[in-house]
Symmetry: C2
Subunit: 215 residues, 2 copies
């Protein structure tokens, strides 16, 4: 059992190291040697879990949407929270930054896929439920809006990353949502949506507390 726990921990250490290298250098320029050096594990330990650079990229993409968020009064608030916690975590979390860079890499993604499909599914499910509850306008097509939010958000975070090293990503994500939500949300729901730049930080703290309480 102790051995299994250690294996799980090693796997995570390797993925975190791979994420740092992919986030900084991109998939094509990254090498397994760089990842080994960053992880501080043996070649054998790495290859026990991942048999290729491709497998490392796939492992990182699987982690993108794993974190559960605290339930809110409306599903539409949970849509906002999904985007705003990603914006909050991007500067802090190499796994998310690597996920964004890997997904947008025209050369690499043929080998390992993309995280966009998972994010679109998460938002489509929330928006479908939101629509059943009357929180979004009747003409809204959940999947179309999910694709719009994921693709536009990606453009906004990329801009923030390349121009301002992600220092303003929460403000820009908040600004995007503030300009899209009025054409999606039912008026009474819109008034109560919290889309402030620090929303992600607050929800993330709540989620972390929630995880600790459950454990």
């Amino acid at each position: 059992m102790v051995q299994q726990e250690r294996a799980i921990r090693t796997r995570r250490v390797v993925l975190e190291a791979a994420a740092q290298v992919f986030a900084e250098h991109g998939y094509v320029a990254a090498t397994v040697a760089d990842i080994l050096k960053t992880a501080g594990v043996t070649k054998g330990a790495l290859y026990f879990h991942f048999d290729s650079k491709e497998a490392l990229a796939k492992g990182i993409l699987e982690l993108q949407t794993e974190r559960p968020l605290p339930p809110q009064e409306t599903r539409l608030q949970e849509v906002v929270d999904t985007a705003m916690t990603v914006a909050h975590r991007l500067p802090l979390d190499a796994v998310l930054r690597a996920g964004a860079r890997l997904s947008a890499d025209p050369a690499g993604r043929q080998y390992y896929g993309t995280a966009w499909a998972s994010w679109i599914q998460v938002l489509t499910d929330l928006l479908t439920e939101a629509q059943k509850r009357g929180e979004v306008l009747p003409h809204v097509e959940p999947r179309e809006i999910a694709e719009l939010i994921v693709s536009a958000f990606n453009g906004v975070q990329l801009y923030s990353q390349l121009e301002h090293d992600l220092a303003d990503v929460e403000r820009r994500a908040s600004f995007l949502l503030n300009h899209i939500m009025p054409s999606i949300a039912a008026p009474a729901v819109l008034l109560r949506l919290d889309m402030a730049p620090d929303r992600g930080a607050r929800v993330f703290d709540e989620a972390t507390h929630m995880a600790v309480t459950v454990a």
Copy 2:
């Protein structure tokens, strides 16, 4: 004079070829040998105009915002037209596709810069003029909205490119504008904005006709 015209034409042929190679392979993977082969010119002819791969990338970025659009009744329609003609031209024009890819390349842009700043300036100027004319709401900050449109548009076009080979880029650009403009435009102006997916094609035809008439 004939010689000068030929030099200008050769320069353009080389830039078009470089754009095709950058758009397909990205800056780092592209080689001057690939560009020479695509252009069908001699090494001497290429180096007469551009002394490095970096100079080629800079030359392409300078071409991004060069095309004048026909004036419209409102400046806000011209904002829409700027975005929709880019969406229309992206699948047809390697220079624009290369501009988008070069601008979003974290590894390459330290060498040659980005086209985003020029696009943001074009839209900021139009939005500032639109605001003076009462076409956009008083609280709108032109530069913030210009940055939002350029960055979100980039995310939308990248999604369309990587997931659907740009086949739906006009529909997605139209969808983005339809969801952002209601929180920017004065109500009477919003009602008259043409943001249809084929708007770019119509304006581009008009601009081409305009250029022919002037010449």
